[in-house]
Amino acid sequence: MLNTEIDTDTIPAVHLLYLCKKFGRHEVLTDINLKVVPGETVCLLGPSGSGKSTLLRCINFLETSDFGEIFLHGTRVAYGRSAGKKGLTEAELAKLRTRVSMVFQHFNLWPHMTVLGNIVEAPIHVQKRPRAQVIAEAEALLLKVGLLDKRDVYPSRLSGGQKQRVAIARALAMKSDVILFDEPTSSLDPELVGEVLSVIKQLAEDGMTMIIATHEMDFAREVASRVVFLDGGRVLESGEPKAFFRRPTTERARQFLERYVR
């Protein structure tokens, strides 16, 4: 396993302490404690509605958490009541968001920009990095995800798997500390899932820090350095994938695995 020897003193890329999130009166996340150190690939597992998406969205401030603390790379960026927003301006939030990039279930590419345009958009216009350099990096990323030949094509001309690989390149181009994936293969035709998973697997081998919500159990078993099992908005288990899949400690996890793994 990659990360068993990682020094526990390493500053975590993402560190959540007692994070809570409510929608109205409905508590969706309760006391989430999670530490993700650089180089880790954490897979978030759990039944539908368990709060995986909400957790990811709190980490990049698309949702405002209600209580608890969020540390990004050792900096406390949200704390206390209304943890997400109070005290942070929209501009500061935007800056934080560029340190955590996101790959969405439905890709969410910008349809009015070419593949290359999608990738260089935020680095040029948000991060204000030099254009020529950003484009060169984007081309290298396209090569990496195997889509350099689609450089000047619009997203409407791509298959789902290709769109998601572009979305991954777009996230990588931000050079953020961590990439969040929200069910990156759930909206793909079965025959396209493999090409996306193999790109993510390659990233894991490169030591990219990632948190991946997924229903692909085989993938989680193979790629995760750690799996976190969520149910009803709580972390019920967190540990080595091998151990988790062989002997889950909670009854809920056991039932969950029975449904997904044979």
Binding site: H106, H112, E121, A122, V126
Partner: protein
Amino acid sequence: MNLRFEVIWNQLPMFANGLWNTVWICVVGMLLSLMAGIILVLPLISRRRSLQLPAELFVDVGRAIPFLMLVYLVFYGLPSFGLVLDRWTTAIVCLVLYNTAYIAEILRSAWANIPRGQLEAGRAFGFTGMGLLRRITLPQIMIAAAPVLGNQLIQIIKDSAFLAIITVPELTHAARTVQANHFVPFESFIFAALMYWGLCLLIEAGIKQVEQVRAVYAKY
């Protein structure tokens, strides 16, 4: 019945001048309304009710008043308040006031149909406020709204015929003048009607073109 189309032939310069005035008034009116519409749509799509309400009121009122009534109000009514606008200014002001409401509503509904995920991706990648609007939201609104905006231009051209009433020398006014001077009502009006039709065909062809190009960018 004895139709005298040679009169039309002789009066062609008059019609051409009318057509030209119709075209430029409408194009200028459209462009200004589009700019005003883009500004008006911002409060419409804002989350703040206090901004939304006045904008919604403007759109409602704008769409409730008949165009001719607006022209009367501005041309004959405003002088009571010491505001006298010449016919050209009145023409442009009325076209813009009237169409801004429609265009803002067109843009708002285009915005409402943009998949939320794309705007969310914009926020997730660090865009905010004006940056988000300029780079992500507005281009998609315009692409989505383009064909409907083309139809609105056709509407503007048809509405502009009312401007003949305040003697703006546009196409309908030209036709009216020719028929009055030469007693050729049918010839004169049917010729003007054909010219309106031709104009609309041209715009419709433009819309088709836009729709084809748009298919590449808009579909997702």
